[in-house]
C-alpha cells in the first residue's frame, strides 16, 4: 500500500469540476462553431420531417407501447438494489471469513437479494419480459 492511496478529503474531488467545465466548453464551442461557420439555406420541404421520403402523417407525439414503462419500473427496482449492494460489497470482504459478523451480513444480504428474486419471478409470471 502506498501513501498516495489515501484520498478521502474533499479536495480530491476538485478535478471533477475541471473536467465538467472542459466538457461543457467543448460541447458549446462545437455547436457554436458549426452554427456560425456552416451555410444556412432553409427551405420548406427541407424543413419537413424525414421519414424515408413519405409525407409524414401526424406528429411523433403519440402513445407508445406500455412495455417500455414496465421495463423502466423493473429497472428501477434492480438499480436501487445494486446501489445498496455497492457499500456492502466494499466492506464484506474485509470481515473475518466464517466469522459471526460475516454470517449475519451474508444472511441479511441474502434476504435482500431474495426479495428481488421474488420480484423477478413475479415479473416473469406477469409477462413483463415477453417481447413479441
Amino acid at each position: 500500500m502506498t501513501t498516495a492511496l489515501a484520498a478521502t478529503d474533499l479536495g480530491s474531488y476538485l478535478p471533477i469540476f475541471l473536467i465538467v467545465m472542459m466538457a461543457i466548453t467543448f460541447a458549446a464551442i462545437n455547436i457554436g462553431a458549426s452554427l456560425l461557420l456552416g451555410p444556412r439555406r432553409p427551405g420548406e420541404t427541407k424543413g419537413g420531417t424525414y421519414e424515408s421520403g413519405m409525407n409524414p402523417v401526424g406528429t411523433a407525439r403519440k402513445r407508445f407501447n406500455v412495455r417500455f414503462y414496465l421495463i423502466a419500473m423493473t429497472f428501477l427496482v434492480f438499480d436501487v438494489e445494486i446501489i445498496f449492494l455497492f457499500p456492502w460489497a466494499a466492506t464484506f470482504s474485509n470481515l473475518e471469513p466464517m466469522g459471526e459478523n460475516a454470517a449475519v451480513w451474508l444472511a441479511r444480504i441474502g434476504f435482500f437479494l431474495f426479495t428481488t428474486v421474488v420480484m423477478y419471478v413475479y415479473g416473469v409470471r406477469k409477462g413483463v419480459f415477453k417481447f413479441d
Binding site: S12, P15, K130
Partner: protein, 442 residues
C-alpha cells in the same frame, strides 16, 4: 497555500488536460480504424487517399499516407457543413441533446489511473537538481475512493441525451430509436453493475487504484472471474449501442435512429460520444479485469511502485494499447456478427444475463464468506455457476415467437411426411453454378 492545492491536484489537472486530447484524437482515429477494419473484412481497401498535403504543391510528399488524413478531413467537414434544424423539432432540446450526450461521455474517464504511481521527480540527465520533486502522486484524473460508483453514475447519464435526441426530433423513426436505445441501455446496465459487484466483492474497495493493486498481488481478475468478464464485455458492447446490439440505429428499420434529423457537428457529437463511451468502457474493463498497465499476466513488472516519468509514460502507453486492441476486437465483432432482433436483445438481458450475473454475485459472496478467494477456488465457483446456469436454462422464460411454421414445398420446414428436394430448383440458379474444371484462370 490551502491544503487542497497540492501535488496530486496539479498532477490530476495535467492528466485530465492531456488525456482529454488523447481520447478525442483516439476517437477520431478509431473511426478511421473502423473503416479500415470493415473494409478488410469485406475485401475492400478502405480510405487510402487523404493525406496531409492540403492541396499544396510544397507538401506533396505528404500525399496518400494510407488515408491517415481522413479523420482530420472529416472533422473539418463536420464544422463547415450546414447545421440544419428542421422546422417541426423542439428547438431547445434539439440543440441541447448532443451536449447532454457528450458531457457524460467525456467526464467518465477521469477515475482511470492511466500511469499508475509517479515518484513525482522530474530529473533531466544534464541537470544537477531535479526540476520537480513533489513526492508520490497517482497519475489519474481524480484520485477519489468511490471511483467505480462515479464512473457507473456518469455513464448512466448518457441515456438522457439519447432519449432527448429521439424525442426532440419529432420524427417517428427517431422516437422509436430513442425508445429502443433507452430500454436497451437501462436493461444492460443491471448485469453490468452486478458483474462489477462480483469484482468488488473480491477487492473489498471502490477505489480504482485498489482494484489495480489487488490484481498485482493475486493475478488478473479475468482468471478468477471469467464469467463476470464475459458479462461485462457483452454489456459494454450493448451499452454503447454497437452491433450486434445496434437496434437503436438499425438502418433497415429506423433510418438512423435517434440521430436521423441531425447534421453537421451536432451529428458528429453523437458519433463522438459513442466512441468516447467505448474508450471509457474498455479502459474500465482493462482496469477491472486485465491488470491495468501490466503487459503480462502473472508477472508484475511495475505494480504500484512509484516510477519515474519514463515509467509512467510506458505504463500509460501499455494501458492505451490494451484499450485500442480491445476496441479493435469489438470492431471485428461488429463487422462479423449480424444484428440481433430487438426482442432477442431484450430477452438476452432479462432472462439470461441478469439471472446469470445474480448467480455469480451470490457465488462470489459465499466464497468470500468461506474465505476461499484464491484463483483456483474462484475458477471452481465460476464453473459451478456455469453448470447451474446450463441446468436451469430449460426452465427460463422463453420467447414465444421464432417458431418454424411447416409449409408445403418448403425446403427448410416441410410438412411432416412430405418429400424434400434440397437441390436448387430454379433454372437460373442451376445455370449460375460453376461447372467443374472449366473455369478460366484470370
Amino acid at each position: 497555500m490551502p491544503t487542497w492545492f497540492n501535488a496530486q491536484l496539479v498532477t490530476s489537472a495535467l492528466t485530465i488536460i492531456v488525456m482529454v486530447h488523447v481520447i478525442l484524437v483516439t476517437c477520431a482515429y478509431l473511426v478511421y480504424f473502423e473503416r479500415k477494419i470493415s473494409a478488410y473484412i469485406q475485401d475492400r481497401i478502405g480510405p487510402n487517399r487523404v493525406g496531409f498535403d492540403f492541396g499544396l504543391p510544397a507538401l506533396a510528399f505528404l500525399k496518400g499516407c494510407i488515408g491517415l488524413g481522413q479523420s482530420l478531413a472529416d472533422g473539418i467537414k463536420f464544422v463547415l457543413k450546414e447545421d440544419y434544424t428542421p422546422a417541426r423539432v423542439d428547438k431547445v432540446l434539439f440543440t441541447l441533446a448532443p451536449a447532454i450526450i457528450i458531457v457524460p461521455a467525456l467526464i467518465g474517464f477521469i477515475i482511470i489511473p492511466w500511469g499508475g504511481t509517479w515518484s513525482g521527480v522530474l530529473h533531466l540527465p544534464f541537470m544537477e537538481k531535479p526540476i520537480v520533486d513533489a513526492g508520490e502522486v497517482v497519475v489519474v484524473g481524480a484520485n477519489i475512493n468511490v471511483g467505480v460508483v462515479y464512473l457507473l453514475a456518469v455513464a448512466a447519464l448518457g441515456v438522457y441525451g439519447v432519449t432527448l435526441g429521439g424525442w426532440a426530433s419529432n420524427n417517428k423513426f427517431s422516437f422509436l430509436g430513442g425508445l429502443r436505445a433507452t430500454a436497451q441501455m437501462i436493461s444492460y446496465e443491471i448485469p453490468m453493475g452486478l458483474s462489477i459487484l462480483a469484482v468488488l466483492l473480491l477487492v473489498g474497495s471502490l477505489g480504482a487504484m485498489s482494484i489495480a493493486q489487488y490484481q498485482f498481488e493475486h493475478g488478473w481478475l479475468v482468471f478468477s472471474q471469467p464469467l463476470a468478464f464475459v458479462l461485462f464485455y457483452i454489456c459494454s458492447l450493448a451499452e454503447s449501442n454497437r452491433a450486434p446490439f445496434d437496434n437503436a440505429e438499425a438502418e433497415q428499420e429506423l433510418v438512423g435512429g435517434y440521430h436521423t434529423e441531425y447534421s453537421a457537428m451536432r451529428f458528429a457529437m453523437f458519433f463522438l460520444a459513442e466512441y468516447a463511451h467505448l474508450v471509457t468502457g474498455t479502459a474500465f474493463l482493462v482496469l477491472l479485469f486485465l491488470g491495468a498497465w501490466e503487459p503480462l499476466p502473472f508477472v508484475t513488472i511495475w505494480g504500484d511502485e512509484a516510477t519515474g516519468i519514463l515509467g509512467v509514460l510506458a505504463k500509460a502507453a501499455i494501458f492505451m494499447g490494451k484499450v485500442v486492441l480491445l476496441v479493435c476486437f469489438g470492431m471485428v465483432i461488429r463487422w462479423t456478427i449480424p444484428r440481433l432482433r430487438y426482442d432477442q436483445v431484450m430477452m438476452m438481458a432479462w432472462s439470461a444475463l441478469i439471472p446469470l450475473s445474480l448467480l455469480v454475485v451470490v457465488a462470489t459472496s459465499v466464497m468470500v464468506y468461506l474465505g476461499k478467494t484464491g484463483m483456483g477456488w474462484m475458477l471452481a465457483a465460476n464453473g459451478a455457476c456455469l453448470v447451474l446456469a446450463l441446468l436451469a436454462q430449460p426452465f427460463m422464460p422463453r420467447a414465444l415467437s421464432n417458431r418454424r411454421v411447416p409449409l408445403y414445398g418448403s425446403r427448410f420446414s416441410p410438412v411432416a411426411g412430405e418429400a424434400v428436394n434440397t437441390a436448387p430448383t430454379d433454372a437460373m440458379a442451376l445455370e449460375d453454378r460453376p461447372v467443374q474444371g472449366t473455369a478460366a484462370l484470370r
